[in-house]
Amino acid sequence: MRTGSIRFRLTAWYAGLLTAVVLALAAILFLHLKNYLEGTLAETQLRRARQISDTLIARVGATGDAYVGNEIASLYAPEKSDRFIRVTRPDGQVIYRSGPPNNQAFDPTAVPSASPETPWESRRKQPMAGGAALLIAAVRAPAGGGGTYLIEVGTSAAPVEAMFRHLLFVLALGLPLVVALATAGGYALVRHALRPVDEIAGKAEQITQHNLGERLPVPRTGDELERLSSALNHMIIRLDAAFQNSKRFVADASHELRTPLTILCGELEDLAQERKLPADHRERLGSLLEEVQRLAKIVERLFALSRLDAGEAQSEWIPFDLARLASVTAEQMALLAEDRRIGLTCEAASPVPVEGDRSRLKQVVVNLLDNAIKYTPDGGAVRLTVKPVGARASLEVTDTGVGLSAGDLAHVFERFFRADKTRSRHPDGAGLGLAIVKSICNAHGGEIQAESTLGKGSCFRVLLPLVDDQPHSSMPQSDSAP
């Protein structure tokens, strides 16, 4: 999962906020509940203490201290109800203290005595060593003798604390679960909502200048995504129109240039062979003619490119052996290499069956070899290799030539592109040869790759889809050198 994606960021924010809100809610709930329960418990103890004060202490002058103790024990049975009751005389003497409670939650004798400054009514939480705290309510009761008796009634906070521990346990377990579930749900929702974006992006990546006729999927949801995708589609339509215009322009222009070129070519040829003209005039006419022919060649190649662009390369589609085509072509061009003392080797083990326009693909081999020979210094080496690589046929032309810089390599298949001065030394082409090679490869469902090191050499690799192996006899073998 990419952490930069909208999907991830939305979910992370959502999960973070959810956790914070739920934690705050749990904390408020916990504190309120704790206050309320402890308050209620303390209130009950206070009522008991008041009861004792009203019913027993008010008459203590008449009944005596011992009577009070007996009455409390019989009326309230604090041990059975797990309560703590202590009555202290004004002089600090404890006249009654309840015994250990049945549930052994606390030790009554270990409860420290209240400070003498205790107000008329008070409550406190008395921490106890080795157990839960005691919630104690204390009431001062006026006695006949002028002093005040201190009545303390308490109960263990253990049940409340146990309940809170349980609540904490449930929250600690439940919270992450709730957050995790909500996050997963949120992620799925966001993903669902953004799936059209993935589809649009995936389709948009596939659209190149060769399939501008295709359109992006438009989700009929009436939302922002529908607007975005139809806006993109309109942009593609405008791009398509612009490309069509420029292609039509190239096709029309190269077409219109043919007639004037025919006239130029014919008249100049006629003159160049006119023996009445002085030799130097004929020489100059010849030079003019060479330029006209170069122009004609450029027009021819532009026209070929516009036809390839228009997808008209599939007229003569046949299966054939690429290895044989390559070795025959290499043989035909051997002299061109030999002339410059360049070693031309060909490694092509038949059969490497491919399908396509044979003469177009031969043009690919010719152009690549011609380039390699042209840009390799005398005495260098050019190697042609054809072999199957996976489900594809690979045709590789490697040279020990001048090579290309990384910057030039990126543009080498562009029309009219010329690398540095070394290349413009050859006025032969017009920088269209490799563009044609690429167009032919594309038209065959293949691709071309180029690697190069400046000063060391280049490698051009054509990859074409392999077809099922054909019996050898069915392969056209017309390409033998005469």
Binding site: R258, I263, C265, E269, G286, S287, L335, L336, V366, P482
Partner: protein
């Protein structure tokens, strides 16, 4: 021999007509399809040269009418090779040959001669140019009686030049004939082979037979050039 040229581009028509007249053909020129059709119905022609893009009745339509009228007359198509008129369509419509603009006039001459089946296209098994002797059956070459060993490509090039001694062949024509159309644009290969051929055929002898006409091409002829 009478040739009808149907071509709407005045300058192209003039140029082609002049060139053909210099070869002693009788040439009529029609500037559009209707004029062409009228002339086909009036005279008998030995060859019709037809531009495909014509005002009025188009070239392809005229070709079909001509075929209904006279299935035998050879027709040479001149085309600017627009996307709709492919090679195959032209032949299906009844063309005998076709030439793509811009073309070299030398090429037009070669095709016209071939279609009329006349002229000095040598059908003999042995071709002689001065003291050079090419035996097409055994594919052997002798000069001054001495045997010259040639590679198959060198032989094919020499034999092609020898089909019409004195005629200048353009590099494009040579490439298309001796190699194939995939080598189109790779005319430097012709220069290399011609150099090798010269080294064997001309260099040992004082009279040079393979001539270069700058900007046009090569020819096989007795040396007149400096």
């Amino acid at each position: 021999m009478r040739i009808l040229l149907v071509e709407d581009e005045r300058k192209v028509a003039e140029m082609v007509a002049r060139g053909l007249k210099a070869e002693r053909y009788a040439v009529d020129v029609a500037a559009d399809g209707d004029a062409g059709w009228a002339m086909v119905n009036t005279y008998r022609y030995d060859l019709i040269i037809l531009d495909l893009l014509l005002p009025g009745t188009g070239g392809l339509e005229l070709l079909k009418r001509i075929r209904r009228h006279d299935p035998a007359v050879p027709v040479l198509i001149l085309t600017a090779m627009d996307a709709t008129a492919s090679k195959v369509e032209n032949f299906e419509a009844g063309a005998d040959d076709y030439l793509t603009k811009p073309f070299a006039f030398a090429e037009l001459q070669v095709r016209v001669k071939a279609l009329l089946r006349r002229g000095p296209i040598s059908r003999n098994s042995t071709v002689r140019v001065e003291d050079l002797e090419i035996d097409r059956l055994s594919q052997q070459v002798r000069r001054g009686g001495a045997r010259i060993e040639l590679t198959p490509k060198e032989y094919a090039l020499l034999e092609y030049l020898a089909t019409q001694p004195g005629r200048v062949f353009s590099r494009t024509m040579i490439v298309e004939h001796v190699w194939d159309q995939s080598f189109e644009g790779l005319t430097n290969i012709v220069d290399v082979y011609v150099r090798h051929l010269r080294a064997k055929v001309d260099d040992p002898f004082p009279a040079k037979l393979i001539q270069t006409v700058r900007g046009v091409g090569y020819s096989l002829a007795a040396g007149v050039e400096p």
